[in-house]
């Protein structure tokens, strides 16, 4: 567990502005809110285990957002504290971490997990403890209705929305005959099912579906299964072997003829797109949840966000240009923290007794305009399904950089509600 009480140091400046030099002379430098009890947020962090590469950046983003929140008055005037607990990217430990954050650290709520099995394993306990559980997972488990009234995903769109909104553009611009390569587990199956449905709805055809076992570390032998009449190769991979996959794809096609390539950036998350062996990606397209390379039309908020998290214009750490972030996903942590702030303030949140009010306040949210709180873009929250909807980006690799070529409309990713959590009891 790492305690981060950013209440004192960074806020000092803000306090001093108003307090004046007299107080400073009197040695009265403690921030005003030192008197108010902090709001404690529990963060379920993949610090070890298979999710650790993401976890590192999720933690960093959470710290950055926390600093901004505290510098701008905390939540309803109270300082905010985040308590990080490692879940080892394991569902059993995940549920125990929920327990620990709530019962031992008395956190007001919990947020932050990414991996679906951890979310699904932990959500029942959060529901039993009646504690808000805000996930940053992009899984379809929340909107799919598997979880409970206390579980929400307000900071990032789900796979179903992402995938469905890609199909029309892919069919219109890249080709009609699609071959999919995806990991042979739940996340990959969501891609397979929802993208296939969307492609067929759009008049295209998925001619081959190549599922790769999650334990695989070498992929070349799957590649000949790609039919030669493929017009678009759709790829999505996760885990430590992603770079291998993309490199081998490049070797496989070499300088020969190849289909259009459309990938989910998950295949290259935390990987430098200019790494040797990836030259062949030039001209191919990617889904991005948030554009890694700073775009010409980037908002001022985006600039502030990059600076706060410590990410340069290429999406790498400012301290190490080779340390590429999980840029397309980690904004969800940032946005979720600001939604927590907005929700708590709207609910008049005082103590853990107001947790239900907080959930109701978030459920009541609808439009989320682009702002420092929503750096990725404006969004619409569906209170019934506890799921947010937003824009998706399609980028093209140009000169070793991901340049945005298309932004989907929010409606492109919408689908009929599968669940109405507001009808469930607390």
């Amino acid at each position: 567990m790492t305690r981060q009480l950013i209440g004192t140091a960074p806020s000092r400046r803000a306090v001093l502005k108003g307090a004046g030099a007299g107080l400073l002379a009197a040695g009265f430098v403690a921030p005003v809110w030192a008197q108010a009890a902090p709001i404690k947020l529990g963060f379920q962090l993949h610090r070890t285990g298979i999710g650790a590469a993401y976890g590192r950046w999720y933690e960093r983003t959470a710290q950055a957002a926390l600093k901004v929140v505290n510098e701008t008055g905390g939540i309803a005037g109270r300082p905010v504290e985040i308590i990080f607990e490692d879940d080892g990217t394991d569902p059993k430990r995940g549920a125990e971490v929920v327990e620990k954050l709530v019962s031992q650290h008395n956190c007001d709520l919990i947020f932050g997990p990414l991996f679906s099995h951890v979310v699904i394993g932990s959500a029942p306990r959060a529901g039993e403890l009646k504690v808000p559980y805000l996930v940053c997972s992009e899984g379809f488990h929340v909107a799919g209705g598997m979880l409970n009234r206390w579980s929400m995903q307000p900071g990032i769109t789900d796979v179903r929305a992402q995938v469905s909104s890609m199909a029309p553009w892919v069919l219109a611009n890249l080709g009609k005959k699609v071959t999919m390569v995806f990991p042979d587990y739940a996340f990959g199956h969501d891609h397979r099912d929802f993208f296939t449905a969307a492609v067929e709805a759009g008049g295209g055809q998925v001619i081959a579906k190549i599922a790769v076992p999650p334990t695989e570390t070498s992929f070349t032998r799957y590649l000949p299964q790609i039919p030669s009449d493929t017009e678009v190769l759709y790829h999505v991979m996760v885990g430590p072997a992603v770079l291998t996959f993309v490199k081998e794809l490049g070797e496989f096609y070499g300088t020969g003829a190849r289909p259009q390539i459309f990938g989910f950036i998950d295949s290259l998350e935390a990987v430098d797109i200019a790494a040797p062996g990836l030259e062949f990606l030039e001209g191919s397209h990617f889904w991005e949840g948030h554009c890694r390379a700073k775009q010409a039309d980037a908002s001022d908020h985006e600039t502030v966000y990059r600076a706060a998290v410590g990410v340069d214009d290429n999406g790498a750490s400012v301290s190490d240009a080779k340390d590429v972030s999980t840029y397309a996903h980690m904004f969800s942590v940032w946005e979720t923290l600001f939604i927590i702030k907005a929700g708590m303030e709207a609910a008049g949140y005082q103590s853990v007794a107001d947790r239900q009010k907080f959930v109701e306040a978030v459920e009541a949210m609808t439009d989320m305009p682009e702002s420092l709180a929503h750096v990725q873009g404006n969004k619409v929250f569906n209170g019934k399904t506890h799921q947010v909807f937003g824009h998706q980006f399609i980028s093209k690799v140009e000169g070793g950089k991901l340049m945005k070529v298309h932004t989907t409309r929010i409606e492109d990713g919408m689908y009929d509600d599968a669940v109405d959590y507001t009808s469930q009891s607390f």
Binding site: A52, A53, G55, L223
Partner: protein, 292 residues
């Protein structure tokens, strides 16, 4: 793609896999053969090799080819030293009791993995290949480096073979394998033979990792898969039989690529795992090994 090129690619991939697998498995087999120790931490030595290769190539101010060669020398040496320490301070004190050593090497596995996570971090990091060369066939492209891996693995294996059959140290190792007590009577320092064998086994795994790391990436969880695969190879080949291990590595490497052409790959893995278990049950001497 038509069947011919498809098969060609499967064979190429299978050969690369077989080469790397042979290196890791021979290490495991050697340790089992001489010491009767099942080293569950073997995969972690492989992982350490890859991670050390990353450190070496990252911090040495050499051109990629030279840095990689440096890694190929340094990483196995460092890993061998770590293994020798583990042998001296843990396995030897357990008198190599089979079950206790398995539990202890499981413990080592966790410790090494966690140390790698703490020091190296959770990211998968690439190591530049010593050279970039792509072969373009009419149907597909292929990495020239992968073919080089096959050659390099062959050279290392040949060196091990010569070492075991021609050198005094190799003779001493084989003598200890055949009869530990008699070897001791002839004045062989069995402790040192064991430490050396354990180190050599680990070094082979590390060397395999240095070969593979320009193709795959160094990651702290990468030891799991080679461990299972080399277990499979060593069992099919006959526990402790080096010749059987080599044959099995070739068979497993080649068949893996070809089987996955016909079955769902996950199903293929299930079947393969069950088959290995059944081999161990019904043919404990392995499919290719001499009778125990």
């Amino acid at each position: 793609m038509s069947f011919g090129p498809f098969l060609l690619l499967a064979v190429l991939e299978g050969t690369v896999m077989a080469a790397v697998l042979a290196l890791t498995s021979v290490g495991l087999s050697l340790v089992f053969g001489v010491m009767r120790v099942v080293n569950v931490a073997h995969g972690e030595f492989y992982m350490l090799g890859a991670i050390l290769a990353w450190f070496v190539t990252y911090y040495l101010p050499f051109p990629p080819a030279l840095a990689w060669v440096a890694a190929l020398i340094i990483a196995p040496l460092v890993v061998a030293a770590i293994a020798a320490l583990a042998d001296t301070f843990v396995l030897k004190r357990l008198n190599y009791a089979p079950e206790a050593t398995i539990v202890a090497t499981i413990g080592l596995l966790y410790m090494v993995q966690q140390a790698a996570l703490t020091i190296y971090g959770p990211d998968a990091r690439p190591v530049a290949a010593p050279f970039e060369w792509r072969i373009q066939l009419p149907w597909f492209g292929y990495s020239g480096y992968k073919l080089f891996v096959v050659g390099a693995a062959g050279v290392i294996l040949a060196a091990v073979w010569l070492f075991m059959t021609r050198s005094t140290a190799g003779l001493v190792m084989r003598a200890t394998q055949i009869d530990r007590d008699t070897a001791q009577c002839f004045g062989i320092n069995v402790d040192r033979v064991y430490a050396g064998t354990f180190a050599l086994g680990a070094a082979l795994a590390a060397a395999a990792a240095v070969l593979i790391v320009p193709i795959q990436q160094a990651h702290y969880l990468m030891g799991h898969d080679p461990l299972l695969l080399s277990f499979i190879v060593v069992i099919i080949g006959g526990l402790g039989s080096i010749r059987g291990t080599l044959v099995a590595a070739l068979v497993i490497g080649l068949s893996d690529g070809i089987i996955s052409m016909f079955f769902s790959p996950t199903l293929a893995k299930i079947i393969a795992t069950l088959l290995v278990a059944l081999v161990l049950v019904f043919r404990p001497q392995g499919l290719f090994g001499a009778r125990a």
